[in-house]
C-alpha cells in the first residue's frame, strides 16, 4: 500500500515538473510577445471611458506606433479586470480608485499610471418619500455594482458623515450591473435607490419621478477622479517606450474630448449607440471632465484605512502613482500628510 502511494507521489511530482516547465515556457513566450509589441487594455462600459473608446475607434495607438498590436477587452466588472491583470493577461486596466487600493493593500504590485475622468455620480431614487439618506428604511434596497466599488465606498463615506456609522447600509445592498439596476429602478419594485454613473445617471435623471438623493461629490466632500488607469510595475519597467507612447496617445484623446467634444461626439456616437447630439449633451454635462490628473487618492486611502477596508496603513501617495510630467496629482497634501 505504502509502496503504491510513494510511486503515485513520484508520478505526480514528475507531472508537476512538466506543467511547471510548460508554464515557464508560456511566460517566456509572453515576454517575447511584449517585445513584438502587443498591448492588452481592459476597460468597462461607460462614458468615463470615452478617451479609451476614442483611441480604439480612431486607431490612435496603431497610428502612433506602426506594427503595434492592440487587444481591447471590455469586461463587465472591476474584479474581472483585476483578476485578468493579476494573471498577466492584461497590461493596462481602467477602474475606480477604491478597487485599485483594495488589491494594492492585498499585495498586488501595481500603480496608478494616469487619471481618466471626473464624472458626476449620484444615488438615484424612484420614491417620492425618499429625498435623502435619512429617508431610507432598513427594508429599502440599494443597487450598486459590488461591495468595495467606488459607489459602495462613497455610500459608506456619506453614512459615516451623516450617521457616524459607515456600514449602516451594508445590509441593504443589492449587487447589480448599472443597466440591470436602471431597469429595476424604472420598473419601480425591489430597488429603492441606485448608485448610478454616466450614461445611466443621465438617462435616469431625465425620467420623471427619479431624482438624486446624494451626489458623489457631497459624499466625498469635494472633487475626485472617478476612473484611473493602472498597470503592474513590471509593465512600464520592461516596456518604457510602449508606456510612453500610450501616455502620449491618451493625452491626445483626452485633449480632443476636452477641447473639441463635438468632434469626439461625432466619432463616438456609434460606439455608445446614441445619436450625436445626445452624446454631446452627455459629454459636456456639468461635472464631466476628462483629465489625466489624479485627484482624491489620499482621501480615499485615508478613509478606507480608517474603516478597515485597507489593513496596511502606510500608503504614500507617491508610491501609489507612477508619476509622469503629463499629469498632476491633486489633493496629495490634504489631511494628515
Amino acid at each position: 500500500m505504502l509502496k503504491k502511494f510513494l510511486l503515485l507521489l513520484f508520478v505526480l511530482l514528475i507531472l508537476l515538473t512538466f506543467t511547471a516547465c510548460q508554464a515557464n515556457h508560456q511566460s517566456s513566450q509572453q515576454q517575447v510577445g511584449l517585445k513584438k509589441r502587443k498591448l492588452v487594455i481592459a476597460e468597462q462600459y461607460g462614458l468615463a471611458y470615452a478617451p479609451i473608446q476614442l483611441i480604439k475607434v480612431k486607431k490612435m495607438l496603431e497610428n502612433a506606433e506602426p506594427g503595434l498590436e492592440i487587444e481591447w477587452k471590455q469586461l463587465s466588472n472591476t474584479a474581472a479586470i483585476r483578476e485578468a491583470m493579476l494573471a498577466g493577461r492584461v497590461d493596462i486596466g481602467f477602474m475606480a480608485i477604491p478597487p485599485f487600493l483594495i488589491a494594492r493593500d492585498k499585495g498586488m504590485d501595481w500603480q496608478i499610471i494616469t487619471g481618466l475622468a471626473h464624472c458626476p455620480l449620484a444615488l438615484m431614487s424612484n420614491q417620492s418619500a425618499v429625498n435623502s439618506l435619512a429617508d431610507l428604511k432598513p427594508e429599502n434596497r440599494i443597487a450598486l455594482p459590488q461591495p468595495g466599488s467606488i459607489q459602495h465606498i462613497l455610500l459608506t463615506m456619506a453614512a459615516q458623515k451623516e450617521f457616524g456609522q459607515a456600514d449602516l447600509f451594508d445590509n441593504q445592498l443589492l449587487t447589480m450591473s448599472h443597466p440591470d439596476a436602471m431597469n429595476a429602478l424604472l420598473a419601480g419594485h425591489e430597488v429603492t435607490a441606485h448608485f448610478s454613473s454616466p450614461p445611466y445617471l443621465f438617462k435616469e435623471s431625465k425620467i420623471e419621478g427619479i431624482k438624486s438623493i446624494l451626489t458623489g461629490q457631497a459624499a466625498f466632500g469635494g472633487d475626485f477622479t472617478f476612473i484611473v488607469g493602472v498597470s503592474k510595475s513590471n509593465f512600464y519597467q520592461e516596456n518604457p517606450q510602449l508606456y510612453q507612447v500610450f501616455m502620449q496617445t491618451l493625452q491626445k484623446a483626452v485633449a480632443e474630448l476636452s477641447h473639441n467634444p463635438a468632434q469626439a461626439a461625432k466619432n463616438l456616437a456609434a460606439v455608445y449607440d446614441l445619436n450625436q447630439q445626445e452624446l454631446l449633451t452627455y459629454l459636456t454635462w456639468p461635472g464631466m471632465k476628462y483629465s489625466q490628473d489624479v485627484q482624491g487618492l489620499k482621501r480615499f486611502a485615508d478613509f478606507m484605512t480608517f474603516q478597515g477596508y485597507l489593513t496596511s496603513n502606510n500608503f504614500k501617495v507617491g508610491n501609489l502613482v507612477k508619476t509622469n510630467s503629463i499629469f498632476k496629482i491633486i489633493g496629495e497634501t490634504e489631511g494628515n500628510d
Binding site: 507521489l9 508537476l16 499585495g107
Partner: protein, 259 residues
C-alpha cells in the same frame, strides 16, 4: 458498512497527499501568493471567518434554503410522477414540460425571475426548484417504469388498493432511482443556490455562502474564496458519506436491491 472505515482511510490518504502537493506548490512561490495561497492562510481565514465573521450564520442560512427547496421539490416531483404513472394524459403533459424546461439552465432564467419575483428569497427558491425538479422527475419516472410488470400482477393477486400498491410496491421498487435522483438534486441545488446568491447579492441581511465567496472575491481575498470552497466541499462530503450512505445502507442495501 464494514468496508467504510477502510474507504475513509484511503480517502484521508488522498486528501493529505493532495494537501501536501498544494502546500509544496504554494511554498515554492512559483505562483504569486495572490494567485496561489498556502493552506495555512486558507485555514486561518476559514477559522477567523467562522469565529469572528458571519460565515456560520451564512452557511446555516444557505442550508435552510436548500432544505426548503428540496422538500418542496420532492413533494412536487412525487405528486407529478405518480399522477403521470396512473394517467397517460398527465404523462404526456409531464414529458412535454420536462422536454421544454429541463435543458434550461437556472442561470438563464435569472433575468426573468428577477423581473417577475424580485431579488428575494422566492427568486432563489424558484431557481433551486427549477434546477432540481426536472432531473428528479426523470429519475422517479425511470424508477417507476423500470419496475417489472410482474409486481403489478402480484398486486392484483393480493387485491391491493391503489394506495397500498403505491406504498408497498411502487415506492420501494423505485427507491434506488429515487435516492440517486436525490443525490443529483442535492448537488444541483447547491450549484443553483450559489450561482443565484452570487448574482443577486445578499438576500437577507447576511446572505449565504455564495455571497460570502462573492464578497471575498470583490475584496481581492483569495484565501477567503478558497475558505468558502472548502466549506462547500466539507458539507458535500458529510452529506454524501454520512446522510446518503446511511440512507442507502438502511434501505436499498439492506433489501438487497443494490450493493
Amino acid at each position: 458498512m464494514i468496508s467504510l472505515p477502510d474507504k475513509f482511510k484511503q480517502r484521508l490518504g488522498w486528501i493529505l497527499l493532495l494537501a501536501l502537493i498544494w502546500q509544496l506548490i504554494a511554498a515554492s512561490h512559483f505562483f504569486s501568493e495572490l494567485i496561489f495561497p498556502g493552506l495555512d492562510k486558507i485555514i486561518l481565514t476559514l477559522f477567523t471567518s467562522l469565529t469572528n465573521g458571519n460565515l456560520l450564520k451564512q452557511l446555516i442560512f444557505s442550508l435552510i434554503i436548500i432544505a426548503q427547496g428540496l422538500t418542496l421539490t420532492v413533494i412536487l416531483a412525487l405528486s407529478l410522477s405518480i399522477l403521470a404513472y396512473f394517467s397517460e394524459l398527465a404523462a404526456s403533459l409531464l414529458e412535454t414540460l420536462t422536454a421544454l424546461a429541463h435543458p434550461l439552465p437556472g442561470i438563464a432564467l435569472m433575468p426573468l425571475i428577477l423581473i417577475w419575483f424580485g431579488a428575494g428569497k422566492t427568486a432563489i427558491l424558484l431557481v433551486i426548484i427549477h434546477s432540481v425538479l426536472w432531473p428528479l422527475i426523470l429519475n422517479l419516472r425511470a424508477g417507476f417504469n423500470a419496475m417489472p410488470s410482474i409486481y403489478n400482477l402480484i398486486a392484483q393477486n393480493y387485491c391491493l388498493t391503489k394506495l397500498e400498491f403505491l406504498f408497498k410496491i411502487l415506492f420501494p421498487a423505485a427507491l434506488p432511482y429515487f435516492i440517486s435522483g436525490l443525490k443529483i438534486s442535492w448537488a444541483r441545488s447547491w450549484r443553483a443556490l450559489i450561482s443565484a446568491e452570487m448574482l443577486f447579492g445578499a438576500i437577507n441581511s447576511l446572505g449565504g455562502i455564495g455571497w460570502y465567496i462573492f464578497q471575498r472575491r470583490v475584496f481581492f481575498d483569495l484565501p477567503g474564496v478558497f475558505a468558502g470552497l472548502v466549506v462547500i466541499i466539507l458539507i458535500g462530503i458529510i452529506v454524501e458519506d454520512f446522510i446518503f450512505a446511511r440512507l442507502e445502507a438502511k434501505t436499498v442495501q439492506k433489501w438487497g436491491m443494490s450493493k
